[in-house]
């Protein structure tokens, strides 16, 4: 064999090795419990208010992973249960890394959920959690982007009104794009497992 042929074989072997090596590392997303978007859509024109009364825009989501829950604090069951689950998920993922994903509660009920009340509420579950809300239009625009659905009653004269909502958990990737959606009932084990798979998949791109 002449020299150029040997070099060619070496190059092919190297390329194949890298290719199959990568393929081996790419995780199998068919094991996901949640739904992962093949082409995550970037969040756009986010104009929410965080629990410190500061503007929260799409830049909030850049360079980190964020779990979002869309709900309301008057909710006695799904919302506290899911935030409890997200706190457990946070604990599981803190074992993996010093930088676990962030968690954000977006309230669709700005009439009752002031930033001050949201702050008290999220801190009850975890000191690292953030709350946000906004104007009804801006909340709707945001919820649409993360495939969350909800319905406030038209008549809200009774202060005890209830809000129907999809109770989904959404995962935003470090590009500030919608990576995945988890429908209820979510568990800390499956959220943590899915999160690890999705991060590995994201890094293997």
């Amino acid at each position: 064999m002449n020299k150029p042929t040997l070099i060619l074989i070496a190059v092919i072997a190297l390329v194949a090795g890298v290719f199959f090596g990568l393929r081996q590392n790419a995780p199998d997303l068919s094991e996901l419990t949640g739904f992962s978007f093949p082409e995550p859509a970037l969040l756009r024109d986010v104009k929410l208010i965080d629990h410190n009364n500061e503007p929260l825009t799409e830049s909030h989501f850049q360079d980190k992973w964020t779990f979002i829950y869309v709900g309301y604090t008057f909710c006695p069951d799904y919302c506290p249960m899911t935030l409890t689950t997200l706190n457990q998920t946070h604990a599981l993922l803190t074992e993996d890394s010093d930088t676990p994903p962030a968690t954000l509660l977006v309230s669709v009920d700005p009439e009752r959920d002031t930033p001050e009340h949201l702050k008290e509420y999220v801190k009850f579950f975890n000191d690292d959690f953030t709350g946000a809300t906004g104007s009804p239009d801006e909340i709707r625009k945001f919820a649409d982007q993360v495939s969350a659905v909800y319905a406030l009653p038209d008549d809200r004269s009774d202060p005890n009104y209830l809000v129907d909502h999809s109770s989904t958990v959404i995962l935003i990737n470090p590009d500030a794009a919608v990576q995945a959606v988890f429908t209820p009932p979510q568990t800390a084990d499956t959220l943590a497992k899915d999160f690890r798979l999705l991060v590995a998949h994201y890094q293997s791109r």
């Binding site: 008057f74 006695p76 129907d164 800390a188």
Partner: protein, 161 residues
């Protein structure tokens, strides 16, 4: 035989204050601890029916609020909707599980924050005339040791991934 009968009665008496067939599983009962300023919570428990006929839970009261209702959740096209119900059936020889994302005792107008370790006095009324009084512990998380609260997908079969 008489002794056996007496012992059985004694044993049952220690597990429950039930007569006529309804028994509450004490370790299943909990009330959700609340964040500061929250006005609502839910109470969960498992009711067992050892009789040969269906019995319905028709009312609940609790010493933490004047407004306590029986509720269920329905999945309305992917939206979770909470609804008041008149009663919750405990089937003959079976049980009714009041648990997160399902049937629950709903508490409105909470005056004080409910803190882990406190006790709530609950009275349950059944349509066979029975009433049950119990002390329900306040917890931040469900009593089960694992953090997965619901593995049966049956009541969520409408949800597609």
């Amino acid at each position: 035989m008489k002794l056996f009968f007496a012992l059985t009665l004694l044993l049952f008496g220690s597990l429950t204050s039930a007569s006529e067939g309804i028994m509450i599983s004490e370790e299943s009962a909990w009330a959700r601890a609340t964040p500061p300023g929250s006005k609502t919570t839910a109470i969960y428990l498992t009711v067992m029916n050892h009789s040969g006929a269906d019995i319905s839970l028709t009312a609940a009261t609790a010493n933490i609020s004047e407004r306590v209702e029986l509720h269920t959740h329905i999945n309305n096209d992917g939206m979770m909707k909470m609804q008041q119900v008149v009663s919750i059936v405990v089937p003959a020889g079976g049980q009714a599980q009041l648990k997160p994302h399902g049937d629950h005792i709903m508490v409105f107008n909470l005056q004080d924050q409910l803190k882990q370790g406190e006790l709530v006095s609950v009275e349950l009324t059944f349509d066979n005339g029975q009433t049950q009084n119990l002390q329900v512990p306040v917890r931040k998380e469900p009593p089960s040791a694992n953090n997965t609260m619901d593995h049966d997908g049956t009541e969520h079969s409408g949800m597609k991934h």
